[in-house]
């Protein structure tokens, strides 16, 4: 039973964490591409 609860909690956390990381990478990439195409930061 403990293991099932552990899987439930860590699994849900991992999914949100993973999606959060992907979210951040989308925002960062968008920012970076925006800077570069405006001829700004290298």
């Amino acid at each position: 039973m403990e293991e099932a609860i552990r899987v439930f909690v860590s699994g849900t956390a991992a999914v949100f964490l993973g999606m959060g990381l992907v979210y951040l990478s989308i925002r960062v990439v968008a920012l970076a591409v925006g800077w570069v195409t405006r001829g700004g930061e290298p």
């Binding site: 849900t12 999606m19 990381l21 968008a30």
Partner: protein, 376 residues
């Protein structure tokens, strides 16, 4: 002379399948016929259900030995394609080449709707465990709620191969029934006013973002959950092919010939695992019930996460979009559009719904990777 003739005929009869047919076989033939009906007449996911149906039929022909270990033709497809974990990743190569991440990239916060829908996977996992399935089987049943055929098959082949055929048939059947399953749940959990919410115009996505995203995105996910690597890496490679726009031949092959070929082998191998011995148990009914529950709960958790996000932010999301986090692409997105149009015919939610729909694929991949890491 006649004695030898009769003996020879008798020998042939003893070695013919007709004399070895059991009730179990007969039931499986009916199952195969039922699946063929669903595929051909009702058009439920025919690309998968038709070869699965046929695999069920021929694997349940006595003495044919198509699933005989080391010798049977279908056993070889199953062993080298699925047990060696080659086919599901190749399917993802094709899917990645078909997927347009634009709708997700233009409104990134929708990714959390894809995450929310996966909560249903874990709730179903827990319920399955409480009902007596062991942890690995419960995880395999739970991932049905991710509404992703190849991921379900991949996880089952790793964690619970005895249930492979069952969970695959459940997953594809319920995916086809999404227009029936989702709307009642969506309407129960939302008010008419919420369903009429219009989404704001989203930003235009630069083509460079679409090329960089598969690389960076897969990096993040594979570093966090290395067990998701085989599927994630192939998904993103296919997407990279597509968005780079410099390998159109390869992209075309991935989207068409490759995907079709692998789908054929996937379907027939999965169907062939459904022997009478493995399928005709009372537990199979519970798998189907839990699988249905998985779709319902995932829809609900997706919608509820959207409502939660609306409490925390000024820009309101139409909560119906949460249902698209159930990654039956693009059916769930179409369902969201239709339910939204019922509330307000001028509301065109389809493209907004594709964002969470695709995010849901990533979410299911992560969830499967977590199950493998903790239980595999």
């Amino acid at each position: 002379m006649t004695q030898e003739l009769l003996a020879s005929l008798g020998g042939l009869a003893a070695r013919s399948g007709f004399t070895h047919v059991t009730w179990g076989h007969g039931v499986m033939w009916l199952v195969a016929a039922g699946l063929m009906y669903l595929a051909v007449v009702r058009k439920f996911e025919p690309l998968l259900l038709l070869p699965i149906a046929f695999g069920v039929l021929v694997a349940n022909l006595p003495l044919a030995g198509l699933m005989e270990p080391n010798e049977g033709l279908l056993w070889r497809f199953y062993h080298y394609g699925i047990q060696w974990e080659v086919i599901p990743p190749l399917i993802f190569l094709g899917l990645g080449a078909l997927t347009d991440f634009g709708p997700l990239l233009s409104q990134p916060k929708l990714i959390f709707l894809g995450a929310g829908a996966q909560v249903g996977v874990y709730i179903t996992f827990f319920c399955a465990y409480l009902m007596g399935f062991d942890l690995k089987e419960a995880g395999t049943i739970g991932i049905i709620g991710g509404a992703d055929g190849p991921t379900t098959i991949y996880l089952a082949s790793r964690m619970a191969p005895q249930m492979l055929g069952t969970v695959a048939v459940a997953a594809y059947s319920y995916m086809a029934m999404v227009p029936l399953i989702q709307p009642p749940v969506m309407k129960l959990l939302t008010t008419e006013a919420e369903r009429r919410i219009r989404m704001k115009r989203t930003r235009k996505v630069h083509p460079a973002e679409k090329v960089i995203f598969p690389v960076v995105g897969s990096l993040m996910v594979i570093l966090l959950v290395p067990a998701s690597a085989p599927l994630m890496a192939m998904f993103m490679l296919g997407n990279l092919f597509r968005e780079s726009k410099v390998v159109d031949r390869l992209t075309g092959t991935c989207q068409n010939e490759l995907l079709n070929i692998v789908t054929i082998f996937l379907g027939i191998s999965v169907g062939a695992t459904m022997s009478a011995e493995s399928f005709l148990h009372a537990r199979v009914i519970f798998v189907f019930l839990l699988g249905l529950g998985a779709f319902v709960v995932s829809t609900a958790s997706g919608v509820l996460i959207a409502k939660l996000m609306n409490l925390l932010s000024r820009d309101k999301i139409n909560p119906l979009l949460g249902a698209a986090g159930v990654s039956a692409v693009p059916m769930a997105a179409r369902v969201v559009h239709k339910v939204g149009a019922e509330a307000d015919r001028h509301n065109y939610l389809l493209m907004y719904a594709m964002g969470p729909n695709i995010a849901g694929v990533l979410g299911t991949l992560i969830a499967a990777g977590v199950f493998l890491t903790l239980l595999g």
